[in-house]
């Protein structure tokens, strides 16, 4: 067993020297992700609010103005402009200055009065599906509410009342939803790049060729290279979690130690991806290209932005092969839902299995493509 990992200590020690010699790498790997976190954490709000709206109020009487106030008070719509004809209403939407156009016809108040069914036209720009969905929901709800209010006698109770209760993130705060997922992407980013670079650099310099002529074994070499970056990745994780808790005030409902423990297999996976990348890439720019190839699936198929359950079958199955899927389940589980070992051990195990598999594949590829090339 010892023999299989021969050279591990020497490589590990040397690698930490490289890291110490090059503080800029350390800076970029620790500080840049925190900056990204700040930008995304403060800058992105996944709740649809204050959608730019243009209104053509052909009626103009009190009832129509009340309707407009209700729309405005919903917080979903921000009324940018009032126009006086249909053409301007259309133009505003086509030009992208408004996503929603509302036209109240000239007979709105009259029809309300005579109870002949008032109609309001709502034009919605479908280019962003989540905005469109929200606009449909809110306008329909307001319409329904207005109708009921007119039909029912005052203070009577509804026959059926739904009482939605949002667990874990009651205020629907975006950082709470966003940051645990972002952790997965940031860690992947840092660790994959660092390992890939550290190996590709040795390829470029020719030191790898030199190393192969020594008794060092591939696994010893790879693990020696991997471990220092595992430490950096873990430090990064601690910084991210601290930031998340104290800067963004995301409450952590579960056990932080468990989060640390279950992050190890994920770090192991992303480091192994880095090694795999480096076994293919011959220069640092090639390594960047290849590493990006692994990022996009981690962002789009992991449930980080889009829920996995709504994906077409093929991509849903694909998402099971994306390590970030498991890790995002772990981070959201522990941080938001207070989940523990009992609920998440399978995800951790899956990550560990993927990591071991990747490392063995990477070591074999190394043997074949790099040493014997």
């Amino acid at each position: 067993m010892f023999d299989l990992f021969r050279g591990f200590r020497a490589v590990f020690f040397k690698e930490t020297l490289h890291v110490r010699r090059d503080p800029s790498t350390l800076f970029f790997s620790l500080v840049i992700p925190l900056l990204q976190m700040v930008v995304l954490g403060f800058g992105i709000d996944t709740n649809i609010r204050q959608v730019n709206t243009v209104v053509f109020n052909a009626d103009g009487r009190r009832e129509s103005r009340e309707l407009i106030d209700r729309l405005r008070n919903s917080d979903t719509f921000h009324i940018r402009r009032y126009v006086q004809n249909d053409r301007d209403l259309n133009d505003e939407i086509i030009a992208g200055r408004a996503r929603v156009g509302i036209k109240i016809p000239v007979d709105y108040s009259d029809r309300l009065l005579h109870q002949t069914g008032a109609k309001v036209l709502v034009l919605i720009d479908g280019s962003d599906s989540s905005v469109a969905g929200q606009a449909i929901n809110v306008t329909t709800a307001i319409g329904l509410d207005e109708s009921l209010r007119r039909v029912l006698p005052d203070r009577s109770t509804m026959a059926v009342e739904m009482r939605p209760t949002v667990l874990f993130n009651p205020d629907s705060r975006s950082p709470n939803f966003f940051l645990p997922g972002l952790t997965a992407v940031l860690l992947l980013n840092v660790t994959t790049f660092l390992t890939a670079f550290s190996i590709v650099r040795e390829k470029e310099r020719g030191t790898l060729e030199q190393l192969f002529a020594t008794p060092v074994r591939p696994l010893g070499l790879l693990l020696g290279k991997l471990l220092p970056y595992l430490v950096i990745g873990f430090t990064e994780l601690c910084a991210i979690v601290t930031f998340m808790r104290f800067v963004f005030q995301v409450p952590i409902h579960g056990n932080v130690l468990l989060l640390g423990l279950f992050s190890l297999p994920y770090l192991f996976v992303s480091l192994s991806i880095g090694i795999l990348v480096s076994s293919k890439a011959n220069s640092q720019s090639e390594a960047i290209q290849l590493a990006f190839l692994t990022f996009l699936p981690s962002i789009f198929f992991s449930g980080y932005i889009f829920p996995r359950e709504t994906m077409p079958k093929f991509f849903y199955i694909l998402s099971y092969f994306v390590p970030a899927s498991y890790y995002i389940n772990i981070t959201r589980g522990i941080i938001l839902r207070g989940a523990g070992l009992a609920q998440l051990w399978l995800d951790a195990l899956a990550l560990f299995a993927i990591g071991s598999f990747l490392l063995v594949v990477a070591a074999r590829r190394f043997q074949k493509k790099v040493i014997m090339a």
Binding site: D3, R6, G7, R9, A10, V11, F13, K14, L17, H18, R21, D22, R205, G206, T207, L208, E209, Q210, L211, F212, A213, T214, P215, V216, R217, I371, M372
Partner: protein
């Protein structure tokens, strides 16, 4: 094991080495032996299979067929032990630029698993031998080519290998450093260390105690420099080599090539090397050149250089392969 190598004194024995990459045969039936303490010069044009042979001998590349023993160890069954017993210095003095001289040495010492006290002793010896003392805390990146090469050699020797592979050890370093390196190699080979050296410099090949020339996967010369010079293919029976010194080499060459009795002629700096019939009259040649208005310095018989040897053998090999194809 150690006994076996000492008794027969063979450091490397390669028998019918073959390596194919798909359809391409990179190394084709190559056999040679290197004795202990030899400086073995391994020459050949780029892409002719030199690096492939080194990789096979260091156990990095499996043999398609044939067998090889290095320091008595079978490279097919015991590649790790082979690598523990050899030193290797790659073409580009592959050091870690951002580590100091000391750190580079320490790293390779650990890689070879030297215990701390032995590592310390060996580092002192290596530093002494290569005069690295003043540079210990300098980053490898700040060393000049010659010093980098000394450090790289030091790294390859830390674990006291009895056999060192040096892949173009003098490429890109200045002449003084080159001379010093060779002096060091001679000194070490005097202590029984064997060197396997690849080079493009013919003057370095002349200094080796044993040279081999590989041409597109085939070994076409193998022996001491002197024995190669006397090969019948190089020095055909009834011929001799001469050197004609003249300031007008191009005109002289054109003229000489059409003379009967001159088999071949090439320019070497300010002189012409020619292969001529044994009974060729040198005085007559001088007169003919002068008659044509070509100033002539000295004309004298010449032993073939190794370059001559390799050129002749390459021609012969090409002719043979052509013949086989037809």
């Amino acid at each position: 094991m150690a006994l076996a190598t000492q008794s027969n004194g063979v450091a490397i024995s390669a028998e019918h080495l073959v390596r194919r990459f798909g359809q391409v045969t990179a190394v084709n039936d190559v056999s040679f032996q290197v004795q202990r303490g030899e400086i073995f010069g391994f020459l050949g044009p780029n892409g002719s299979g030199k690096t492939t042979v080194i990789k096979m001998l260091t156990g990095l590349l499996p043999l398609t067929s044939g067998e090889a023993h290095v320091e008595g160890l079978d490279v097919r069954t015991d590649p790790e032990a082979v690598r523990q017993n050899i030193g290797y210095m790659s073409q580009r003095f592959s050091l870690y630029d951002d580590l100091t001289v000391t750190e580079n040495l320490q790293f390779y010492g650990r890689i070879y698993g030297l215990p701390p006290d032995r590592l310390k002793r060996r580092m002192d010896e290596i530093i002494q031998l290569n005069s690295l003392e003043p540079y210990l805390n300098r980053l490898a990146a700040q060393l000049s080519g010659g010093w980098k090469q000394r450090l790289a050699l030091g790294c390859a020797m830390l674990h006291e290998p009895k056999l060192l592979f040096l892949d173009e050890p003098t490429a890109g370093i200045d002449p003084v450093a080159r001379r010093q390196l060779w002096d060091l190699l001679f000194e070490l080979s005097g202590h029984g260390i064997t060197f396997f050296v690849t080079t493009h410099y013919m003057d370095e090949a002349e200094r080796c105690s044993h040279v081999a020339y590989i041409y597109y996967g085939r070994l076409i010369a193998d022996g001491t420099p002197n024995s190669l010079r006397e090969l019948p293919d190089v020095q055909p029976h009834g011929t001799m080599r001469i050197e004609i010194t003249t300031p007008e080499v191009t005109r002289a060459l054109r003229f000489a090539r059409q003379l009967p009795g001159i088999r071949s002629a090439t320019i070497f700096g300010q002189s012409i090397h020619a292969l001529v019939e044994e009974h060729f009259d040198l005085n007559d040649l001088r007169e003919q050149l002068l008659k044509n208005g070509i100033t002539v310095g000295e004309i004298r018989p010449l032993a073939p250089s190794l370059e001559d040897v390799f050129v002749e053998l390459t021609y012969k090999h090409q002719a043979e392969t052509e013949a086989v194809r037809v």
